[in-house]
C-alpha cells in the first residue's frame, strides 16, 4: 500500500502532469567566479519567481526554473545541459563563453535556443548561420567599439598616436575583442597593446609592471571573477588614472570595485542595461518575492549590476516566450516555438515601461539576419563615495563599418567548417 502511494507520488512528481515552462539556469555559485555568478543567478531566478507569484507564470502557464551548478567549468556545463534538456528546457543562458561554445553545436542539433547575452561567440549575431544562437542586445565586438568610441569622444575625435592596452582573461572570452581592437587601431591610428592574464587571475603583478613600463594612455579590461578585483586594485596601486581604465560589462559589478575602496573611484565600465534599483519593477519584486521570503540565494543582491543583468536576461526570455505564445497560439510552447519567438522579439520603450523597467535597456528588434540586436551600449562610472554606478553617456551604437564585415567573415568560416548553408527562409 505504502509502496503504491510512493510510486504514484514519484510518478506525479516526475511526469509532466501540469504543463510548465522550463527555464534552466546554468549558474555558478561556487568557485573562483562565484562572486559574479551569484547575483546573476539570483536576478534570473527572482524575475521568474515574480512572474509566477504575480501573474501566475507566462500566459497562464507556470514557470519552473531548473538550477544546475556549473562552477564555470565546461565539463560540468555539459553534464548540466544533458541533465536538463530532457525536461523541456526552453532556452539556455550559461553565462560562460566556454560553455556557450560547447552548446552552440549541441543545442543547434537538439533544436533548443541559446541566449548568450553579451558573451559567447560574437558572430552568432548572424542568424542565417547560427539558427539557434542569440546574443542580443550587444556583443563583445560592440563592446570593444563602444570603448574606443568613448575614448574618441573624450579626445575630440582624434586618438592617433595614443596607446591603448587591453588586459584580458587568457581564454576564448578574453581573446574575443582583440581582432576588433586591431581593426579599430588601423582605422583610428592608436597603438594597441594586448596583455594576457591567466585563469583565474589572482596574480597580476607582472602585467601591471608592464603597464607601468609601457605607459598606455588607456587600459581596457576583459576580465571576470576574481581577476577584475585584482586588476582594479593593482591599477589603484600604481595610481593609474581610473577614468582612463574601462572595463567590459563583465568587469563592472560592485564586487569588482568595492575591494579597492576609494582607489576605484572613477573606474568606468560598459553596460547594455541600466543600473541601480530605481525602477517600478523593484516595488513588485519587494512585495511578491523578497517580503514573501521567496528570493533566490541569500536575497541580498537586489539592485547590484549583475543582479539587474540576470533580471534583464530573464525579462528578455519571458518576453520572447510571450512572443512565442502569440505566434504559435499555444500557451505551453516548445523549444522550437521559443526559438521563433526569440527571432521575432521586439523590445520597445513602451514594452519596458509596461514591465516596470522604463529606460532600462536599449530598444532593439531581432530578425533572422540579425540575432544580435543593434549593438547599443553605454558607459557607466563608479562613484566610490556614493557606492553606486551611474550611466555617464546615452546608449550609442558601435562602429558597424568595422564589425559587420568581421561578423560576416567569422560566421562564414564557421559555416564552412561545420557544413552549414546560411539561409533565412
Amino acid at each position: 500500500m505504502k509502496l503504491t502511494t510512493l510510486t504514484i507520488a514519484a510518478v506525479m512528481a516526475a511526469g509532466p502532469v501540469m504543463a510548465d515552462l522550463v527555464f534552466p539556469s546554468l549558474s555558478y555559485r561556487t568557485g573562483p567566479y562565484a562572486a559574479n555568478g551569484i547575483p546573476f543567478a539570483d536576478g534570473y531566478e527572482d524575475y521568474f519567481t515574480l512572474l509566477n507569484e504575480r501573474d501566475g507564470g507566462i500566459g497562464g502557464v507556470p514557470i519552473r526554473v531548473l538550477e544546475c551548478e556549473t562552477g564555470y567549468n565546461t565539463e560540468k556545463g555539459v553534464e548540466c545541459y544533458e541533465s536538463t534538456k530532457g525536461e523541456g528546457a526552453l532556452v539556455y543562458q550559461p553565462l560562460s563563453t566556454g560553455i556557450t561554445y560547447q552548446l552552440i553545436p549541441k543545442a543547434t542539433a537538439d533544436g533548443i535556443p541559446v541566449h548568450s547575452m553579451g558573451y559567447g561567440r560574437t558572430s552568432a549575431k548572424n542568424g542565417a548561420v547560427f539558427s539557434n544562437i542569440f546574443n542580443y542586445p550587444a556583443n563583445y565586438w560592440d563592446g570593444a567599439s563602444h570603448a574606443v568610441t568613448h575614448i574618441l569622444n573624450e579626445n575630440g575625435g582624434d586618438i592617433s598616436g595614443t596607446k591603448i592596452a587591453l588586459v584580458y582573461h587568457n581564454s576564448a572570452y578574453g581573446k574575443e575583442p582583440i581582432r576588433t581592437l586591431e581593426e579599430l587601431s588601423a582605422k583610428h591610428g592608436y597603438e594597441f597593446l594586448p596583455i594576457a592574464v591567466d585563469h583565474p587571475g589572482q596574480e597580476q603583478k607582472s602585467q601591471w609592471l608592464q603597464i607601468r613600463q609601457q605607459r598606455p594612455d588607456y587600459v581596457l579590461m576583459w576580465g571576470w571573477g576574481v581577476m577584475n578585483q585584482v586588476a582594479i586594485q593593482e591599477a589603484a596601486n600604481i595610481r593609474f588614472p581610473m577614468d582612463k581604465f574601462i572595463g567590459i560589462w563583465w568587469s563592472g559589478s560592485e564586487n569588482d570595485v568595492l575591494p579597492a575602496g576609494a582607489g576605484a573611484d572613477g573606474y568606468k565600465a560598459l553596460t547594455f542595461h541600466n543600473l541601480g534599483k530605481d525602477f517600478p519593477l523593484y516595488d513588485d519584486m519587494q512585495k511578491y518575492v523578497v517580503d514573501a521570503g521567496k528570493a533566490a540565494g541569500a536575497g541580498d543582491q537586489l539592485g547590484t549590476a549583475l543582479y539587474n543583468r540576470g533580471m534583464y536576461a530573464a525579462m528578455l526570455a519571458a518576453e520572447a516566450a510571450k512572443k512565442a505564445q502569440e505566434i504559435s497560439g499555444v500557451a505551453d510552447i516548445t523549444p522550437a516555438q521559443m526559438r521563433d519567438g526569440m527571432e521575432a522579439l521586439e523590445i520597445t520603450e513602451e514594452l519596458m515601461t509596461e514591465i516596470g523597467l522604463p529606460n532600462f535597456g536599449p530598444t532593439f528588434s531581432v530578425s533572422c539576419e540579425n540575432h544580435g540586436g543593434n549593438g547599443l551600449g553605454a558607459v557607466a562610472q563608479w562613484d566610490a563615495g556614493a557606492g553606486k554606478w551611474s550611466l555617464i553617456t546615452d546608449y550609442y551604437q558601435s562602429d558597424q563599418d568595422i564589425i559587420s564585415p568581421l561578423v560576416a567573415e567569422d560566421s562564414a568560416a564557421f559555416a564552412a567548417e561545420s557544413g552549414i548553408t546560411p539561409s533565412c527562409s
Partner: protein, 358 residues
C-alpha cells in the same frame, strides 16, 4: 568455494600464462565485455553517455597511461593535462587537415604524436627523479598550455583560440560533432579503452613491464642486473604518452566537441588523473578503471542525490560534494594507501579461502 584455481587445469603454455588464471574471473571478464558491448549500446541515452560513460572511459585511458609511467615505472608526472592537450590539438589538426580520413586513424596518430612529445619531456628523467622530475613535468604542463594559447597555427587562427571538432565518421557512422548518437560516442570510446587496457595489461606483465617495475623498485639494482634505464624510462614515457594522447584526442573530439587549452587541459586535469591512479591503486590496470570511476561518478552521483532527490540548493550541494570527495580521498589514503585495487585484491584473497579461512 567457486573462486579458486583448484580443478582448472592448464594444458598449454598460453593457458598457463593467461591474464585471469581463475575460471570465475575469466567468466566475469567475459560477462563485463558482453554487457559493455552487447547491452549498454542499446539502452544508452544522451545523459548517460555524456555525463557518465564517455568521461569515465576516457579518463580510464588517461589513468592507464599515467599508471604506466607513475605506477609501473615510478616516474612522477604532473604534466598529464598538457599531454592530453597535445593529443587533442594533434587530433584537431589532423581532423581539419585530412577530413576524409577515418577517426580510427586520426586518434592513434594523435597518440603517436603525443608519445613523441612526451618522450622529449621525459629526457630529464634520465638525470633527475622524484620531486625534481615532478617539477620538470610541471614545467611541461605550463609550457605546453602557453604554447597552444600563443601560437595561432595550433587552433587554425580562430578568433577566440577555441578548437571545435567538426563532424567526422567511422565507416559512415558519425562519431564526432553535434549529430553523434549516444551509442556511437560510447562505442568508439569503449573500443579504444578495451584495446588500450588489453595492450597495457600485456605490456606490464611482459619483459617491458618487468623492466619498468625493476626501475621503479630500485633503479641502481635494476641497472646492475642488466636493465637499461635509458630504454626502460623512455619506453615508459612514450607508451604512457601514447595512451594519454589517445585519451586527450577522444576527450576533445568525442566528449567535449569544443575545447580551450587553459580550461580543459589545465593543471587541474593533471591532478585529477593523478588522484585517479592514487585512489584506484598505483601499478594496477583495474585500479585505473576504479579510480576513474570513483572520480567521475561520485560527483555526478552526489549531485543527483542532493539536488535531484533531496532538492537542496545547488551551491550547498556543490560545496558538500567537495567536502565529501575530499574527505573520502583522505580516508582512502589513510585506510588503504594502495587504493581501491588493493581492496579488490584483499577481497579476492578472502574469497579464495572462503568458506574455510585459517
Amino acid at each position: 568455494m567457486f573462486y579458486r584455481e583448484a580443478g582448472d587445469f592448464s594444458t598449454t603454455y598460453p593457458q598457463d600464462s593467461q591474464t585471469f588464471p581463475i575460471k570465475f574471473d575469466r567468466y566475469r571478464y567475459y560477462v563485463v565485455l558482453v554487457i559493455a558491448f552487447g547491452i549498454i549500446p542499446f539502452i544508452i541515452n544522451d545523459y548517460w553517455a555524456n555525463a557518465v560513460f564517455v568521461p569515465f572511459l576516457i579518463y580510464a585511458i588517461a589513468a592507464i597511461g599515467l599508471n604506466i609511467l607513475t605506477g609501473y615505472c615510478g616516474q612522477v608526472s604532473l604534466g598529464t593535462g598538457a599531454f592530453m592537450a597535445v593529443g587533442a590539438y594533434s587530433c584537431y589538426k589532423l581532423m581539419t587537415a585530412f577530413p576524409e580520413v577515418s577517426m580510427l586513424i586520426h586518434i592513434p596518430l594523435a597518440g603517436l604524436i603525443t608519445a613523441g612529445v612526451v618522450t622529449i619531456f621525459g629526457l630529464p628523467s634520465l638525470r633527475i627523479k622524484g620531486f625534481y622530475l615532478a617539477v620538470a613535468t610541471l614545467a611541461a604542463q605550463f609550457f605546453l598550455v602557453w604554447l597552444f594559447n600563443k601560437v595561432g597555427w595550433f587552433y587554425n587562427y580562430s578568433a577566440s583560440g577555441q578548437i571545435s571538432a567538426p563532424q567526422r565518421d567511422v565507416f559512415g557512422i558519425i562519431v564526432t560533432g553535434p549529430n553523434t548518437a549516444a551509442w556511437a560516442k560510447y562505442m568508439i570510446c569503449l573500443v579504444f579503452v578495451t584495446i588500450c587496457a588489453v595492450l597495457a595489461r600485456n605490456l606490464t606483465r611482459g619483459t617491458t613491464g618487468r623492466t619498468w617495475m625493476a626501475i621503479r623498485d630500485m633503479d641502481i639494482a635494476a641497472e646492475i642486473i642488466g636493465v637499461n634505464p635509458l630504454k626502460a624510462k623512455l619506453t615508459a614515457f612514450a607508451i604512457s604518452g601514447f595512451f594519454v594522447g589517445i585519451a586527450g584526442a577522444l576527450f576533445f573530439s568525442v566528449y567535449l566537441g569544443a575545447a580551450e587549452v587553459g580550461e580543459s587541459f589545465g593543471i587541474d586535469k593533471s591532478f585529477l588523473v593523478l588522484f585517479m591512479i592514487i585512489i584506484g591503486g598505483l601499478g594496477s590496470i583495474f585500479g585505473s578503471f576504479a579510480g576513474a570511476a570513483f572520480m567521475v561518478l561520485l560527483p555526478v552521483f552526489l549531485k543527483n542525490v542532493f539536488v535531484g532527490w533531496l532538492g537542496w540548493p545547488t551551491d550547498l550541494a556543490a560545496h558538500l560534494q567537495f567536502i565529501i570527495s575530499g574527505g573520502l580521498i583522505i580516508i582512502f589514503l589513510i585506510m588503504e594507501p594502495h587504493g581501491l585495487a588493493q581492496l579488490w585484491r584483499v577481497a579476492k584473497e578472502k574469497l579464495r579461502l572462503w568458506p574455510f579461512p585459517h
